[in-house]
């Protein structure tokens, strides 16, 4: 390690913070009370230290194929207490659901019960090897089968593919099933066009493209729904299907969804439903009753498995009778000696389109999701979705006189505002969101969906108490008053109370520094 990298205050220059806040006190160490200056592990390490005690055995080169490593890897050496402190300090620079209100629209940041963590680590579950004989893993297969039953029942769908690793992976699964069904009909070369509303998540068009389809965008109406006439006009013999999020990304239920399903089916296409917003309707509406052919569930959203700073997730996909035969490998069947796992194409009517990931799916996520479902039960799940919708409508009702709600009427579990209320203030959606950070709230989703200007998409989830919502409402009303009063600079400076202030994203992209290296730092 270079001398320079031993300076633990590196990267920290104690410039007084701006805005209307008092200047920060200069410190010698670079830390400020509980806000610690924390270098990279590569700047902390020292050769000869280690955080594990393992025997130092010698091995010969005889069985290494002549490919024994010649140089060091370059990993730093740290003791266990150093590692614990380092990652504790990093954790303190993060905002999680445990820290506060996290109304990030379309992400369903609900409480993550800790009993689910405990269960996922049980001996006999957390330590099971994916390749152990199925005769020794009957409880694991029972668990997956039980989760599949809950999912199918909640969705009123006959089949579910369990292996997709996340929502976007589930989209891939659904669209590949559609492609396989079209191939089976001999129409895959003709039906190449997929209809996607312009309000869709970016993953939808990206998924369609990854399956070799072309994407045709459907406009939205002034009511924030699919323009049914425009959609009908786009139908034709070259249409493979539609990818529709429902409830949609504007936080609204597509009230013509059954007509859309009928029309796409009449045109010979399939209906992919993006289930990212399932949390609004669990136990109240079953997607199977709406005429869908497939839909992914984000277990990390609707069923509370931890988002973990960006994963892992799981994205099981429910399938209609028409698509069920094309479900990917592997899948579970009830055999004569208990549960069995079909890992390869069997001699049956099934026509699996292939395999989506290694092994059998995100078991650790399945465990947590099923524990969440069982804890709630049929009654609790129904109550949870109602409370999520109630919370979003409460925000809408209490903020609509100050902030511009994009669409009139009841919303589902998220409420969409646009930036009209900030017109002529000099404050942007981004500025407004950054000021919320200083107030102790995680911002909403910004600039999505693309169908309204300067979108602010808020999803409170059922986890939040009325007191939390009331403080949030009071805060947003106060911030809006400040914006209207002409104090744009306050917003431009925000945030000022965070471990870092606004970061230069342009510089990061222009000249990417994507890793630490001994020379550069």
């Amino acid at each position: 390690m270079s001398d320079q990298s031993r300076d633990l205050s590196q990267g920290r220059t104690n410039v007084p913070v701006g805005g209307s806040q008092a200047p920060a006190q200069q410190t010698i160490s670079g830390s400020k009370g509980l806000d610690f200056a924390e270098p990279l592990i590569f700047e902390l390490g020292e050769d000869g230290r280690t955080g594990v005690d393992l025997a130092d055995v010698k091995v010969s080169d005889n069985r290494l194929g002549g490919l024994r490593r010649k140089d060091k890897v370059g990993l730093p050496g740290l003791s266990e207490p150093q590692v614990v402190r380092h990652y504790t300090r990093l954790s303190q620079k993060n905002y999680g659901i445990d820290s506060g209100f996290y109304p990030l629209g379309s992400c369903t940041m609900k409480h993550n019960p800790r009993v689910n963590e405990k269960i996922a680590r049980l001996k006999g579950l957390g330590d099971l090897h994916p390749m152990q004989p199925t005769s020794t893993a009957q409880g694991a297969l029972e668990l997956i089968d039980t989760l599949a039953h809950w999912i199918k029942t909640l969705c009123a769908m006959p089949a579910v593919a369990m292996s997709p690793a996340a929502g976007a992976h589930g989209e891939l699964c659904g669209m590949m099933a559609i492609k396989a069904a079209l191939e089976d009909r001999g129409e895959a070369d003709v039906r190449k066009r997929v209809l996607v509303p312009e309000s869709a998540h970016g993953t939808n068009p990206a998924t369609a493209a990854a399956c070799g389809f072309s994407v045709d965008s459907i406009p939205a109406t002034e009511r924030g729904r699919v323009d049914f006439a425009a959609f009908k006009a786009k139908l034709g013999p070259d249409v493979a299907g539609i990818m529709l999020t429902n409830p949609n990304t504007c936080g609204l239920f597509e009230n013509e969804v059954i007509e859309i399903a009928d029309a796409i089916h009449d045109a010979g296409g399939y209906f992919y439903c993006d289930g990212a917003n399932f949390n609004a309707i669990v136990g109240r509406v079953r997607p199977g009753d709406l005429g869908i052919d497939c839909m992914h569930l984000n277990l990390h959203k609707t069923f509370s498995t931890p988002h973990g700073g960006g994963g892992p997730g799981a994205g099981p996909v429910v399938l209609s009778e028409a698509l069920a035969p094309f479900a990917p490998l592997p899948y579970i069947v009830h055999g004569k000696d208990g549960f069995d796992l079909v890992e390869h194409k069997a001699d049956s009517d099934a026509k699996p389109f292939g395999r989506l990931k290694g092994y059998h799916g995100q078991m650790g996520v399945f465990i947590r999701a099923l524990a969440f479902m069982m804890s709630h039960g049929a009654d609790g799940l129904r109550q949870a979705s109602s409370d999520a919708v109630l919370n979003a409508n409460y925000l809408r009702a209490e903020l609509q006189d100050q902030m511009s709600v994009s669409f009139d009427g009841m919303c589902m579990h998220e409420v969409l505002f646009d930036d009209h209320f900030l017109k002529d203030t000099g404050v942007t959606t981004l500025d407004f969101a950054k000021a919320m950070i200083d107030e102790g709230f995680h911002p909403m989703t910004m600039y999505f969906p693309l169908v309204v200007h300067g979108a602010l998409l808020m999803e409170p989830t059922e986890s939040e108490a009325k007191e939390t919502l009331d403080l949030y409402i009071k805060t947003l009303r106060g911030l809006n008053a400040r914006a209207q009063s002409g104090d744009a600079q306050f917003f431009k400076n925000a945030p000022v109370l965070t471990p870092r202030r606004r970061l230069d994203e342009t510089a990061a992209a222009r000249k990417p520094v994507l890793r630490w290296s001994p020379d550069a730092n």
């Binding site: 590569f42 090897h129 005769s135 136990g283 079953r286 995680h442 630490w516």
Partner: protein, 451 residues
Amino acid sequence: MRYLPHTEQDRKDMLDAIGAKTVEDLYCDVPQKALLQAPVDLPLAVGEMEVERTFSAMAAKNLSPSIAPSFLGAGAYRHHVPATVDYMVQRGEFLTAYTPYQPEVSQGTLQYLFEFQTQVALLTGMEVANASMYDGATATAEAVLMAARATRRNRAVLAGGLHAHYFDVTKTSAHSLNIELVHPDSDPTRPADPASVIDLIDDNTACVVVQSPDMFGRIIDLRPIAEAAHAKGALVVAVTTEIVSLGLLEAPGNLGADIVTAEGQSLGIALSYGGPYVGLFATTSKLVRQMPGRVTGQTQDVEGQRGWVLTLSTREQHIRREKATSNICTNAGLCALAFTIHASLLGEEGLSRLARLNHANACTLADKLAAIDGVELMNDSFFNEFTVKLSQPAEEVVEALAKRGILGGVPLTRLLPDRNDLKNYMLVAVTETNTDADMTALVQALEEILS
């Protein structure tokens, strides 16, 4: 219900504020015939104790590799995970955060991802790495798609020793985009022959995919294959399913790889019956704008303080939509954290020792097994996993071992079901967790079963 804060009074007050009489009024846009009037036909809510009881009962029906001597590998390996790892990843600020869209309040996630990217780049000998993929198999499929984009070619050669699941996942993705895959037969009975791959490379080949140690445990020299591939303008994708091996073996980046994909489960991540794991993806600076997935970059804040942000997002679906390099969004953030913490605890010396311990144990067991009548060791080279030929069908032997409480190995036909010629072959993995008593138990049981 313990997770729901509202009292009935809260609900009533909030409905009043909204101007609705009942919750049903909030669902007024749902077609009446699709609105359920009662809960679905599933069990009702239960307390924490009952939930634990239900899952404990299911867990008890499984044979736990923590209790049984276990020699299972085939791309997922049982290693000791220091308690620190599991404690740290359960800190709520890590566990309950999402993708770091707001960098000012996500520096913890962003900094560990930057550390993760650096560790992956160092281990693989590459210049850059992304912030994770779902697993090694999906990372490999993405690498083939990336190579096709980067070279504007639509053919890939996948070496016979590529893990069967990695091949299958790649095949599924490639099919959608009309990429032709060429895949010579897997043959564990002879030493790996680079010519079996080199002869298949042509002028339309986007990439060659080579796993080392391969599915049968053999250590493959990438250099002659890389030389041949590069001569034809093809990229080289190096795959490893056991990242610990790189503590002892040469990094693929030093052997000619253009892209390295790997399964990162071995560091910090529970076996958990196959997932969630973490896919590692590393490449060269030249190819970075073709790379799939999220990536963290270093920058400064307005006060000139060093910090991190998600960057190069113009490759990604939320900006580029149907022109994105991948549709991936949620990845494996928390698993990447577990990997990073375990790698930080190990450090240079710890990783080296861990790798040597694995190899030493594997050498010991290989010799013991080779001495049994009815067992033949197939590998000249291996790291911590090797293939044996048994005098009886491997699936029957594995079941007989399981009846004795031993998780003995993976029959090759579980991965390659069409290869009846391999029905007597079994993969055996050995790690630092296997004790002498474990090995003795396996040897004695095999002696009995095969006699």
